[in-house]
């Protein structure tokens, strides 16, 4: 506690390092293709930041964020298809599989501004309604997790069945432009990367702020003792609802950016497996920490690509082994590793490096909460 001001700046030091890595280092050293991949991981990471809030801070195991990722992605994809088709035009696949008419519920997305509104508001509405129904009835734990996953599965099945209006299993792809910018141009691809990285960094900052507010502390309190919070006169359902809605909107933003970056969205990107993939990064990085979910998602994306490129036939075994190792040895994720380093350093009277990935909320109380629950989990295993 010799330098309290600096100590509390550590999460921001970590954030600055990440910002330099993403905005300066990566564009300087990576090829266009690799930068495009990193842009894709950033989209997953934006969704992961939301999962960090809902799961890490709020204790809600959101197994179906693919639903919200998909809402954002399909809304964007539908807008891009309509924009490519031009005023009054019909997207190419509808002429091929359907009767070459644009369904009424597609029409509002012709307008770019309206599409952006849909991307932000629709997931909030869906998550809000679902959250109201679920949290007010005090449904939690595994029941909530199963419900959220079932919704993602249902969404993917629904998409597959609607070949004429959603492209079915093929999904939507072959986008020419993004709000007037040609997508084949590497310069525009770089622009998309900077947008994704920029939104990721801003959303992490927003979390840093949120974690320090009264809401942020209430959320942790609800996670660790929902009944106690209720006795103290606050309805935990409202706190959880807010966190769940924010997580849904972040997932939707990630999905919307994913579409022009990856150039495609299909039901495989929004279903159960995709949802668990989003969660895996958060678990790897450390769900309760500030930077853990984002860094974890970036690392998982990188690891999956590298393993698959190095061992095309057997990469999934390596990935599985990686998960088993992390869950067995580091249940608190990579952030726990830094916590261990910190503890070792504390004994030597040196606390540098402790908060790089952890980013615990203001005040000693919040900090011990997080540390304690991580160690409790470790003990429970």
């Amino acid at each position: 506690m010799r330098l309290p001001t600096l100590k509390h700046a550590y999460p921001y030091v970590g954030w600055l390092l990440l910002a330099v890595a993403l905005l300066v280092l990566a564009p300087a050293v990576l090829s266009d293709f690799r930068l495009g991949l990193l842009a894709k991981y950033c989209c997953y990471a934006i969704a992961a930041v939301g999962i960090g809030l809902a799961w890490g801070r709020g204790g809600m195991l959101v197994l179906g964020q693919g639903l919200y990722f998909g809402i954002g992605a399909y809304a964007m994809a539908m807008h891009l298809k309509l924009a490519d088709a031009g005023p009054g035009g019909v997207p190419d696949f509808m002429a091929l599989y359907g009767d070459a008419t644009v369904p009424g519920w597609w029409e509002p997305l012709r307008n770019g501004g309206l599409a952006l509104v849909v991307i932000l508001v629709l997931p909030a509405l869906v998550a809000g309604l679902l959250g109201l129904a679920v949290f007010k009835r005090r449904i939690k734990g595994a029941y909530f997790a199963i419900l959220s996953q079932a919704l993602a599965a249902a969404f993917a099945i629904l998409l597959v069945g609607q070949v004429k209006t959603t492209g079915g299993a093929n999904g939507l792809n072959n986008f020419q432009g993004f709000f007037g910018f040609a997508l084949f141009d590497p310069a525009n691809k770089r622009m998309l990367y900077f947008i994704a990285a920029g939104i990721l960094l801003v959303s992490i900052l927003a979390m840093a702020w949120l974690y320090r507010t009264r809401f942020g502390e209430l959320l942790v309190a609800v996670r660790d003792g929902e009944e106690r919070v209720r006795f103290l006169g606050t309805d935990p359902a409202n706190v959880k609802l807010a966190a769940y809605v924010i997580a849904a909107v972040l997932a939707s933003i990630g999905g919307a950016l994913f579409v022009p970056i990856a150039g495609i969205v299909s039901p495989d990107d929004v279903g159960v497996v995709a949802s668990i993939g989003l969660l895996a990064g958060v678990a790897l990085g450390g769900r309760a920490s500030l930077l853990g979910p984002a860094v974890g998602a970036l690392l998982i994306g990188y690891a999956e690509t590298s393993l698959s490129e190095a061992f095309p036939g057997s990469w999934s075994y390596f990935q599985g082994a990686l998960f088993v190792l992390v869950i067995l040895l580091l249940p608190g994720g990579l952030a726990q590793l830094l916590g261990l380093v910190r503890r070792a350093n504390v004994h030597r009277g040196n606390s540098v490096g402790d908060h790089l990935l952890r980013g615990v909320p203001r005040g000693e109380q919040g900090e011990t909460e997080v540390t304690r629950s991580a160690s409790e989990e470790a003990a429970a295993r």
Binding site: A187, R190, A197, W209, A262, D268, P312, W315
Partner: protein
């Protein structure tokens, strides 16, 4: 004090992040045309090509066999001195049975590995996902599986059958040889079966065949009790089956279980090859019909060599099937095009493609430079007691590819 410090940092960093984002804007607007520079390295004594097959996920069981026959073709070509004197260097990537991954890996092979051509893909969704990538980068894809037609990309060569080389001959066979007057359609719920059935219904209407029912089940569905009941109740002269994967196992078990037989109500399948027969069960399939352009039982020197070599490399129990043969053929056709063009450049290869032939295991095939498909002989087969497929009817000569069915006046898309 510390709050102030953090808030300032927060504000400053936000401005920084947004500023970086804003300054990065720029570049071409929509409507501009693409210019892509090829990075293929032709200076050394090897040339890189890419194989893109699903080696994990639900399609791995099928696509791994394609990967094996592609590898065999590459080894043969290398043993024979390579292409234009350069040995083939294979870069293999896993499509993971997901369209998005196919798009990503195709980009990687083209932009990062700088391969001269890519071979692979199986499902229609994987091909649709890769199409804009190959067109946008002006690269080459060889796609080895029969498909639903209605497509012909400048940058793709289709070495499997299009509908007028598989589905329409199958209907001709049912009409002329089996004298059917009614038919029942069963398929998986995705693009290929739906498009195939659209064609079948128009053919039926023009040829006086009554379609008594049309049933779809989601991919991977194994619940066929109701469907088979409907088939039985309808009492059609034949069933046209466009089911894919595991669903066939459940369908044919149920079909046999409900007392339906190949002689009374034959099923003609377009997605069951030698590879799938053991999975469905020889007992459930014996006597049923299939439509393809290649069977392991084809009696020709080219096929004997293909089958013998494949068994030598992959074990005596390994079987060869139509998509494997089409993939093997595709690599040899690319070699023929490159040698005719005397260049690895994509546009040179495409320009030289018309009329390139290869004595494939299925017989001699010829590339149509116009629509990038190949002329293939249609073969109707019947599953025998050993689980192999015997040819019972043939179009006798290669059928010119007609992906948009322009030469059929009953067809209206």
């Amino acid at each position: 004090m510390r709050t102030k410090f953090s808030s300032r940092l927060l504000a400053a960093s936000s401005v920084l992040a947004l500023g970086m984002t804003a300054t990065a804007c720029g570049g071409a607007k929509t409507g501009d045309t693409a210019t892509s520079e090829s990075c293929v390295d032709t200076s050394g004594d090897t040339i890189k090509i890419g194989f893109l097959n699903s080696l994990s996920g639900t399609m791995a069981i099928s696509e791994t066999t394609v990967f094996k026959s592609l590898s065999m073709a590459a080894e043969e070509i290398n043993a024979d001195g390579g292409v234009l004197g350069k040995k083939l260097e294979i870069v293999s990537e896993d499509g993971q049975s997901e369209p998005t991954v196919f798009a990503e890996k195709a980009t990687k092979l083209i932009q990062d590995d700088c391969v001269a051509a890519v071979f692979g893909g199986w499902t229609s969704s994987s091909r649709k996902a890769m199409l804009p990538v190959f067109e946008g980068n002006d690269a080459l894809l060889f796609y080895p599986v029969q498909y639903e037609g209605l497509e012909s990309s400048h940058n793709i060569f289709y070495t499997g059958a299009t509908t007028n080389q598989q589905i329409i001959p199958a209907l001709d066979f049912l009409k002329q040889e089996k004298k059917i007057e009614s038919i029942f359609l069963v398929g998986s719920d995705y693009v290929f079966p739906r498009t195939a059935n659209k064609i079948i219904k128009q053919y039926a209407a023009a040829n006086g065949i009554e379609v008594l029912g049309e049933e779809y089940q989601p991919l991977g569905s194994t619940d066929f009790g109701t469907v088979v009941d409907k088939v039985k109740a309808a009492g059609a002269d034949a069933v046209f089956n466009t089911l894919n994967g595991d669903s066939n196992v459940a369908f044919f078990k149920e079909y046999k279980g409900k007392g339906l037989t190949a002689s009374a109500m034959p099923v003609l399948s377009v997605s069951i090859a030698e590879e799938e027969v053991p999975g469905v069960g020889v007992g459930n399939l014996e006597g049923q019909y299939t439509a393809w352009n290649y069977y392991q039982t084809i009696d020709s020197p080219a096929n004997q060599k293909f089958v013998t070599d494949f068994k030598a490399a992959n074990g005596a129990k390994a079987v060869t099937s139509d998509p494997m043969e089409a993939a093997y053929t595709s690599l040899h056709l690319w070699k023929g095009m490159v040698e005719k063009a005397d260049s690895f450049e994509v546009e040179d290869v495409i320009d030289a493609s018309d009329g390139v032939t290869y004595d494939a295991p299925e017989g001699t095939v010829e590339v149509d430079g116009e629509n990038h498909h190949i002329a293939k002989t249609a073969l109707i087969g019947q599953v025998n007691s050993e689980g192999l497929i015997d040819t019972v009817w043939s179009s006798d000569k290669p059928i010119e590819p007609d992906p948009y069915l322009k030469s059929y006046d009953w067809w209206k898309n």
